[in-house]
Amino acid sequence: MHGAADLRVNLFPAYANQIYWLAIGSAAAAIVGAPAALIAWARTPYATGQGEPPEQPVKFDHRHHVRDEGIGCEYCHGGATRSARAGVPATSVCVGCHAQIWTTSPELGRVRESYFTNAPIRWRRVNALPDFVFFDHSAHVNKGVGCVTCHGRVDLMGQVYQARPLTMRWCLECHREPEGHLRPLDEVTNMEWTPDRPQDVLGRELRASLGVRSIVDCSGCHR
């Protein structure tokens, strides 16, 4: 038999209860909170890669070329209307103009070096989709989806950064109701276009005229 006397001492001070409830409460909060935090975190611009212009080998300024010189998107990214990939201009496209102007500018050193040593300029990809997503520019560009819809106001970007989350959820919103995001074909490269009539009215018309389908089948993008 155990001596009964020495067992009487109280085990915990009064304030121990508060600590106890705090511990249990925080454990419960962690179990519920951690996944919620992860879910929220996955939607932050940092996670989706928005807003951080990667370091490019040549400091190409879209503002100057698009706004000041008025060069259209298709001049350098002409592939968009014919191929899945819009393409990035070959060095020869840059040298087309820069053989005459800014021929000695240090900024264009890498361009000249690339042209004469036949070594391509290794640009850093900005709007990167995972390998298992097969995005087709020509399908979108020919159906009234403007460049600005997915790439944002590139004509205002000193250095190009990813403007949209490019998550599947974001793509699906447009795939479900394309009416909200369509524009006339000749306005596709117009960064400053705004609909003259309410977007849903114009959108329904364009959807009918351009034959835009709402593709939500998985093999539309994953194959």
Binding site: L11, Y15, N17
Partner: protein, 184 residues
Amino acid sequence: MGEVIIAELDSPERVVQAARSVRALGYARVEAFTPFPIPELEDVLGVRRTRLPRLAFVAGLGGASLALLVQWWTNAVDYPLDVGGRPTSSLPTDVLIVFESAVLFAAITAFAAVLVGSRLPRLHDPLFDLPGFERTSLDRFWLLIRDAYDDDAGILDEAQALLDAELARLGAVVTRARLTEAGA
């Protein structure tokens, strides 16, 4: 707060009789501490029947409806997909998770209700300071009379003497103690 009388008995039958007589004497705030559950004590001490089953049932319903809602909304509304030509939402396939979710919510609620009902979990309780309280989980059966010295009218004035006589008759070890704060 205040003075309490503790009667320590050594068998379930005696503690039930002691409780009956204490209640007969008009004491209202009486508690018993026993090593194992004694159903008769609950009637004698007038313990209200707990609302726990009803609470668990409601929680179960909540779980069931939540499960049904989630399954229907995700598979039939948010991203309806043609899966094997089957309907996008059908009760026979949903009912299993509905039942599981109902059971889960009911069980968690029941467990929580048992603890919260007794204002557990706690580490410190003034009752633990009472000498010999640890024996109540071993083999001693306690009666705790909280309103022994309250002077409201309910209690007969000569109750004190009658009480001591009755407890002595039952072989209870009676002690008086001071409870530091309003331990439940």
